[in-house]
């Protein structure tokens, strides 16, 4: 038993972190760098493809690197820290779904030449035997060929044109592109239910890992600021009201990161406990991202309320990912219905 990354796993983390520091620094999301609407991350996909990141956990026979859910989760923590477009989640999950039966599509996704958006329910979804109907939000779908739909009990890969009436909306997280669309007896290219295998659990795990990264980045931003901003002649981090807020953020991030690690090992074994541990990790990690995102703004004071520092980005991204496949209320309903794992 060892819940710390191995040397090889740490090398992957360092590689991804180094790549993102150079190619996707948080400053890229400042209004004077890129703008307040949309994001510059489409340019990342081919570079990430070159490094093998988009097919990291896809089996080698499916054209991926054949690493496990552990390495995938570790890289997703980094994606969350850098607020990489959640389109990356579409790519990873889409590649997994395509790899078994549609090698050409999987190859295009992993090469970064076909983008994959996300679909998430706006209400109830009718989904009998792999035919889906309902109203959805599409996220990062504007340039996508494919869409991964995540509901609380299924995951499915569609061609984007299965979705009808696509109409743009401005997103609260304005760096992410948002549309509304509908499926009327939409037929996916590939899908799996929460009962078969770990595809669905993987989605929850990677959302949890991403949320953990968001929580960690919000914490790091708050702590850095609390060390340098002075009021009453001292750094604000010396005031307990601020220090204890930072401590609570650190606790939330640690809780999330530990459970994400644990769940990732469980998934890497294809264990029956995958769904339970992935849901647990999603619940604590999204909670951490939401809380740390909010607290981070307060620690900054007025500058935190501006678009000129990153603080506001974390809570918005946290809200967005909360809704992918169902928000905390939905996930907790699922989780309390699940059998105990002791």
């Amino acid at each position: 038993m060892n819940l710390l990354p191995t040397e090889e796993q740490q090398q992957i983390v360092d590689m991804v972190r180094g790549f993102l520091a150079a190619s996707a620094p948080l400053e890229r999301l400042r209004p004077d760098k890129f703008g307040q609407i949309g994001n510059p991350d489409a340019a990342l996909w081919p570079k990430m493809a070159e490094l093998g990141i988009l097919g990291l956990g896809v089996p080698e026979e499916g054209g991926g690197l054949g690493l496990s859910a552990v390495e995938e989760a570790l890289t997703y923590i980094e994606f969350g820290r850098a607020l990489v477009s959640v389109g990356v989640l579409g790519a990873t999950l889409g590649a997994h779904l395509a790899a078994r039966t549609m090698p050409d599509i999987a190859a295009a996704i992993m090469a970064g030449t076909s983008a994959v958006g996300l679909a998430t329910p706006r209400g109830t979804v009718a989904g009998d035997d792999g035919i889906f109907s309902g109203e959805f939000h599409l996220i990062e779908a504007n340039e996508a060929d494919f869409i991964v739909l995540l509901t609380s009990d299924a995951i499915a890969l569609f061609r984007r044109d299965e979705f009808m009436g696509q109409s743009e909306r401005l997103s609260m997280d304005s760096h992410m592109r948002l549309m509304r669309a509908a499926l009327e007896s939409g037929k996916p290219l590939s899908w799996s239910s929460v009962k078969d295998g770990i595809d669905h659990a993987r989605a929850n795990l990677l959302i949890a890992a991403y949320a953990t990264g968001v929580a960690e980045a919000a914490l790091a931003g708050a702590v850095d600021y609390a060390k340098v901003r002075e009021q009453f002649g001292k750094p604000i981090g010396s005031f307990q009201a601020i220090k204890h807020k930072c401590a609570d953020m650190a606790i939330a991030a640690e809780v999330a990161s530990c459970q994400v690690s644990f769940a990732s090992v469980i998934l890497s074994k294809n264990s029956d406990e995958s769904r339970f541990h992935a849901l647990a990790s999603r619940i604590v990690a999204v909670d951490a991202a939401l809380k740390n995102g909010a607290t981070g703004i307060q620690v900054h004071g007025a500058i935190g309320f501006t678009a000129e520092v990153e603080a506001h980005l974390f809570v918005k991204r946290a809200h967005l990912i909360d809704f992918i496949g169902g928000d905390q209320r939905v996930q907790k309903g699922q989780f309390i219905g699940a059998d105990a794992v002791i």
């Binding site: 981090g237 220090k243 401590a247 609570d248 530990c258 219905g337």
Partner: protein
């Protein structure tokens, strides 16, 4: 990362399970008094005779010399088997013994360690004072060095089970002129020494429940040879024990709480119906608690993984601060599930006393606020 156990680990687990099945006490643990002492020491003796008392203790002190992973496996099986929470043993096994191992003399080790491990004696902790709780470093209980003895005068308070203990780990001020952290000594005190008097203090969990004490020392003579570590280096000696208490010693409790949450889930399903639970406020809160207690196990594993490389540092306060408040939320929800009858306090009550007891979790062994100071300053590097 892996959660794999070697074949040898699995054999160890099977042996632990088998032994626990056959030996776990079936009778209810008395909550207090000499009956509780007898129960806890008897159980410790039994574990010792079975070879399970000191799984990760070094062989030279009577333990098995196994890894922290083995200790964790033992705790997991212990929790699964519903082993008792033998709190009286905590200070001896988890504070005094590790401190003596780290800083004691050969005589101190060979005299005390076997007695602690085999359940011959119980220890208590005399750290807090009426005017020094969180500010432990400012403690005033005075010990003058007279010849080859310390002469102690002063008072300690909140000393859990002082009335049931044979020995005490006692912090005293040996040099009042030195800066506050530099004039303290860590002393082994025999509770039968003349000049020690106790005042029982009743606690809030139930009428008449005597848990801790104020201890008064009047010219109490303790041999100088009972000082652990150097005279006036007691602060450093004490800190090594507190680090231990906040880290690995809490593992058993962490693991045990998973089962508490599952009992609550079962109770809620019975009372509210499984399908109603999914959308109910109680179901939502229980789901959150279930996820959090699952994460506590993961945190425990990470602490154990780190401890295999280096002794636990300030980062263990993350898990401790989280867990103490989580225990409160877990115990609190029991009342909402039980409903109106939760204002009754039945004799065989599994929920209300434990709920009331959790109010101490964020106070004892370093309050939540002090834990947050530690996290802020020593983990995050924020200024004092």
């Amino acid at each position: 990362m892996n959660l794999d156990y070697t074949a040898e680990d699995e054999i160890f687990r099977a042996e632990a399970r088998e032994w626990l099945d056959a030996n776990i006490p079936r009778e209810v643990r008395p909550p207090d008094g000499p009956g509780m002492r007898e129960f806890d020491l008897g159980w410790q003796r039994k574990q010792f005779e079975g070879g399970w008392a000191g799984v990760s203790w070094p062989v030279e002190y009577g333990g098995r010399g196994l890894s922290l992973t083995h200790q964790l496996i033992w705790y997991e099986e212990y929790a699964k088997a519903g082993g008792p929470n033998a709190e009286l043993l905590f200070v001896g096994c988890n504070h005094a013994a590790p401190t003596i191992m780290a800083r004691g003399t050969d005589e101190q080790k060979s005299y005390h360690l076997p007695k602690i491990l085999s359940g011959e004696v119980a220890w208590c902790q005399g750290f807090s004072e009426p005017n020094n709780g969180s500010d432990l470093g400012g403690l005033k209980c005075r010990a003058e060095i007279v010849g080859d003895e310390l002469v102690v005068n002063g008072s300690k308070i909140w000393t859990s089970s002082a009335h049931l203990a044979d020995w005490q780990e006692l912090l005293v001020r040996t040099d009042p002129a030195a800066p506050k952290h530099k004039g303290i000594s860590w002393v082994i005190c025999d509770m039968q020494t003349p000049g020690i008097e106790l005042r029982p203090i009743l606690i809030m969990t139930a009428p008449g429940h005597h848990h801790f004490n104020q201890v008064f020392y009047t010219d109490v003579r303790i041999p100088l040879s009972n000082v652990v570590g150097e005279v006036n280096d007691g602060w450093n000696v004490a800190m090594s024990t507190l680090g231990f208490e906040r880290g690995t010693a809490g593992m058993l409790e962490n693991i045990r709480y998973g089962a508490v949450v599952e009992r609550l889930v079962d109770m809620a399903r019975q009372r509210l119906g499984a399908s109603a639970l999914e959308n109910d406020d109680i179901g939502q809160r229980l789901a959150q608690l279930r996820a959090e207690v699952t994460a506590v196990r993961a945190m425990t594993y990470r602490i154990a993984s780190r401890a295999a490389i280096a002794p636990p540092g300030s980062e263990v306060s993350l898990a401790r601060a989280f867990f103490s408040q989580l225990q409160q939320r877990i115990r609190r929800i029991a009342l909402d599930i039980i409903g109106p009858d939760s204002i009754e306090l039945p004799e065989d009550d599994p929920w209300i006393r434990p709920y009331l007891r959790t109010y101490s979790n964020t106070i004892a062994a370093g309050t939540s606020e002090i834990q947050r100071n530690i996290i802020g300053e020593r983990v995050l590097g924020l200024p004092r």
